[in-house]
């Protein structure tokens, strides 16, 4: 393997005895560092998304708070009106009917607003299933829709999302990793769109695999960059925006972890489409245990 190169650099005499052990230790360390990087990258994406999520939550909360305040004041007025008309033995005044109608209207809005907060928080929760490390059968469309909902907080107003879903069986995968892979591709697609544009997510069944494509109408990938986009540590984004790990991790998740394939088609000024193919069933891998 690649690690053979390292042997040549060590002193052969020392190396012979401790070779196996030190190589194992080295491999473990590399693996650990790698996991740390993956986790750091995930947290960085979540952090960037959280600003958008807070904004998204503030509007419905503002609405609920305002409505509750209005309802509270109105109820006081209503109480006085009812007490007055009752003490005078009169029927309910017209103003009271108007207030009652308004209150009913506001209650409806409050319900809608609450449902929206719940949906955002729910998608955040699904995404943050960091420790869901077991192979599980999942509805891929649900995974994609959750990721779209979450990332949509950042670009909803300028990017239109179209989904073209075929009938798919549940596929066996690591759900947490899958979320991460799709999030990377969707966020990249959104970032490649300068002003307004479209992201089209399509799925289709192809034999014993599913194929997912994520197409954007963004700026496309320049020829000189195309060969390096899956390389870890390579980024074209400004400092603080990209970790240079997104696509390399996505490739690892798709190809190394799930035995799938990832590739892309791109045209400058027209956009990019990423294709992901994942087997429906994961092979039983004993040596991986």
């Amino acid at each position: 393997m690649v690690l053979g190169g390292l042997n040549n650099m060590s002193d052969p005499a020392v190396m012979d005895e401790g070779k196996g052990a030190s190589l194992d230790a080295l491999r473990e360390e590399i693996e650990l560092t790698h996991r740390k990087l993956a986790e750091a990258h995930k947290m960085a994406s979540l952090g960037r998304l959280s600003a958008g999520i807070v904004h998204e939550i503030n509007t419905p909360i503002g609405s609920i708070l305002s409505n509750n305040e209005t309802i509270r004041r109105s109820l006081e007025t209503l109480k006085k009106l009812v007490a007055k008309s009752q003490s005078e033995g009169q029927p309910l005044p017209e103003r009271a009917t108007v207030i009652l109608d308004t209150l009913a209207n506001l209650t409806d809005i409050d319900k809608l607003a609450c449902e929206r907060i719940y949906a955002v928080i729910r998608s955040l929760k699904t995404f943050a299933r960091v420790n869901e490390s077991d192979l599980r059968k999942v509805d891929l469309h649900e995974t994609i829709l959750n990721t779209l909902k979450l990332s949509g907080c950042v670009f909803r107003r300028r990017v239109t999302v179209i989904t073209n879903f075929a009938d798919l069986p549940e596929i066996e995968c690591y759900p947490g990793l899958m979320n991460q892979a799709f999030l990377n591709l969707i966020v990249n697609a959104a970032q490649s769109i300068q002003d307004e544009g479209t992201i089209t997510v399509s799925t289709r069944l192809d034999g014993d695999s599913v194929e997912i494509s994520i197409a954007d109408t963004g700026s496309g990938i320049p020829p000189e960059v195309r060969k390096r986009i899956f390389v870890a540590g390579f980024t074209t984004k400004p400092i603080g925006e990209g970790t240079g790990l997104g696509l390399s991790l996505t490739r690892e998740i798709v190809e190394d972890t799930h035995g799938g394939k990832i590739w892309f088609q791109t045209e400058l000024g027209k956009g990019t489409t990423f294709f992901v193919r994942i087997p429906i069933q994961q092979p039983r891998r004993q040596e991986q245990a």
Partner: protein, 163 residues
């Protein structure tokens, strides 16, 4: 869409937010507490068309909206009706960019979501007061100009009569 309010010479409040729920909440609150003539728009371009033909006392706008952001909308409002007070009601995440743009459009007040109803009412009340003060100031200046003009006329006639 524009859902017309009360009319009859009441102060005109324009609310622009791409979220229908914000308009409904603010409208419900204002119509129970005040007699204002309230016009709500989810489409900023429609709000601009409204402002082209109808005078407003205060325009309350969201910042992040499709087609046109709040600063662009309030900029157009400033061109169309310089006296109408402009208020930005925005979510937290776009605060930085909003603050940078405030000077461009001469904002009367900047409010954050989630907003406080009593504060919003206070801001709208003082915005209307300010707009109406500006309007009466302009009327007084026009009257002064007219008076000045007629005085000059009298003066020149006097001069002509005596010289």
């Amino acid at each position: 869409m524009d859902q017309n309010g009360k009319g009859h010479g009441q102060p005109v409040v324009v609310i622009v937010d791409d979220e229908e729920m914000v308009i409904t909440s603010v409208r419900a609150f204002l119509s129970l507490e005040t007699e204002y003539d309230i016009h709500g728009f989810t489409d900023p371009e429609e709000a601009v068309r409204f402002l082209e033909t109808s005078p407003a006392d205060v325009i309350v706008s969201d910042y992040l909206m499709p087609k046109m952001n709040g600063i662009q909308l309030l900029g157009k409002a400033k061109q169309l009706q310089p006296e109408a007070a402009r208020v930005l009601l925005t979510g937290h995440a776009d605060k930085q960019s909003a603050i940078q743009a405030i000077n461009e459009v001469g904002l009367f007040q900047y409010l954050e979501k989630p907003w406080d109803n009593s504060q919003l009412l206070l801001v709208i009340q003082s915005a209307i007061e300010r707009t109406q003060l500006f309007r009466s100031l302009r009327e007084k200046i026009t009257e002064l100009d007219a008076a000045h003009g007629s005085l000059k006329d009298v003066q020149s006639r006097l001069l002509r009569a005596f010289l």
